[in-house]
């Protein structure tokens, strides 16, 4: 590794590793690092409590009859003492001083030898009109989920905005519990950007069969309080519906503000190299806030990957680098599970920009194949989701 005497003079090597954010990315980095190094101090900053929970469980928690507090698997202070980190809760980061290697927060200054940005992403809010637009909620954290559950009284009519992965999982979860569920999306079918049309249609039919009402090829124009009860939603196609709860699930936007203000290069996310270092020395990023390097993605375009599996892979590599062994992340094939219980789906999508096409090789099993018959992606539908490991072995590995 390159050493720079001038840099080292400034750099307080005795300072702790500082991690901003205590979601899966933050905690995974701390846990993986602790496996390699039991003495180096780790300080973690969070604007919340730092509770560790399984985030993918939020979108199917209802069917499991779980309240928000029941989704916490380990309370913040407990995991902090188990892993051996100093957890600083309810603390808002104001700015990073990259010259002095300090982070200014609402609770004072924190020095770092290495800084990890695990700041996650926030829900995208769509522009809508009307006096009730503030009623539109997103669920991207445990606290959001608690708010959502409070609003969801027995017999509530729910509108889900967005027929992507999270929208479909919530639709399945709520319709399965007897709620009246509407889904609105400008596309022609659910998950249409990810799935072949025939499978999108299958999912549409499966969710319809448990009562989900689709409003496709349109979008919400206005949300106004109804004179009697709930809210009146008007769609661009002229239709309208009266609902009690509106859940927006239209995607995530990386939290890049403090990185950007600190001078780190940001695009759709915080731009990192193959070792997860940002454009600034000693500052690293991983998770939903990060735009991973093309090199780690088999040469396909640099992009964000807001899923669980990339975080686990990134945390392992980053722990090595933080411990002094410069390590590049290598992402394996990472299938995504769509937990729609009425029609579960597992997809290992081809890299963006790949030339090829989907075909159903047997019922419920699809392959994405290029002109040389190489399998570059797969899709498993319904009972076939159990064949994940088998399919992964048949994939052409990313090189």
């Amino acid at each position: 590794m390159k050493t720079n005497a001038h840099e080292n003079k400034h750099l307080n090597l005795e300072s702790p590793i500082l991690i901003i954010g205590t979601g899966l990315a933050g905690w995974s980095t701390a846990r993986e690092f602790r496996k390699l190094n039991s003495t180096k101090q780790i300080v973690m900053l969070t604007a919340e409590r730092g509770d560790f929970y399984a985030k993918p469980a939020i979108s199917n928690a209802f069917a499991q009859k779980k309240e928000a507090h029941q989704l916490i698997t380990i309370p913040g202070q407990k995991i902090a003492s188990t892993v051996g980190v100093k957890l600083v809760q309810n603390t808002v980061v104001k700015r990073i001083n990259t010259t002095t290697q300090q982070v200014e927060t609402s609770e004072g200054r924190f020095e770092y030898s290495k800084l990890v940005l695990a700041t996650g992403a926030r829900a995208i809010k769509l522009q809508m009109n009307g006096d009730a637009v503030d009623e539109v909620i997103s669920v991207n954290s445990l606290d959001d989920y608690a708010t959502f559950r409070e609003k969801l009284f027995n017999g509530a009519r729910v509108l889900i905005v967005g027929a992507g992965l999270i929208g479909c999982e919530f639709a399945n979860d709520l319709a399965g519990e007897g709620f009246e569920v509407h889904v609105v999306d400008p596309n022609s079918g659910p998950l249409i950007s990810l799935l072949p049309q025939a499978v999108s249609r299958q999912l549409e039919t499966a969710l319809w069969s448990i009562g989900v009402k689709w409003h496709m090829c349109t979008f919400v124009q206005s949300v106004n309080y109804d004179s009697k009860k709930g809210m009146n939603v008007t769609f661009a196609n002229g239709e309208s519906r009266c609902v009690d709860v509106i859940l927006s699930a239209v995607g995530l936007r990386a939290n890049t503000k403090i990185a950007q203000e600190g001078g780190a290069l940001c695009d759709r996310g915080i731009v990192v190299d193959a070792t997860l270092q940002t454009s600034i020395t000693n500052i690293y990023a991983l998770g939903d806030n990060t735009q991973y390097a093309s090199e780690t993605l088999g040469g396909s375009a640099s992009r964000t990957m807001p899923y669980v599996m990339p975080i686990m892979n990134a945390a392992k590599a980053l722990a090595q680098t933080l411990n002094g062994t410069l390590t590049k992340v290598v992402f394996p094939v990472m299938p995504v599970a769509i937990k729609t219980s009425i029609l579960p789906i597992v997809i290992a999508p081809p890299s963006p920009g790949t030339q090829g096409s989907w075909s159903e090789v047997q019922e419920g099993i699809w392959n994405y194949v290029d002109s040389e018959h190489k399998i570059l992606g797969f899709l498993l539908v319904g009972s076939k989701v159990s064949q994940r490991s088998e399919q992964m072995k048949r994939m052409v590995p990313m090189t």
């Binding site: 899966l24 399984a54 993918p56 698997t73 669980v308 599996m309 394996p332 159990s386 490991s389």
Partner: protein, 59 residues
């Protein structure tokens, strides 16, 4: 078969559930395999956590 002897475990990272009674035949883990008997090389199918890191909660 006495099902009461079987336990169910949940991955704290992604909430994947492993049921000893069901096993994980697609990973060559037959029904009835105890958590302790799963090979160390096995990883969580949903999130990739190694078995050694798999902190489980009995449910």
């Amino acid at each position: 078969m006495n099902n009461t002897a079987f336990k169910t475990y949940i991955c704290i990272v992604c909430s994947f559930v492993y049921d000893e009674a069901v096993g994980r035949p697609e990973d060559n883990i037959p029904p009835g395999t105890k958590w302790a008997d799963i090979p160390q090389s096995w990883t969580c199918p949903d999130c990739g956590v190694a078995k050694a890191d798999f902190e489980v909660v009995e449910i």
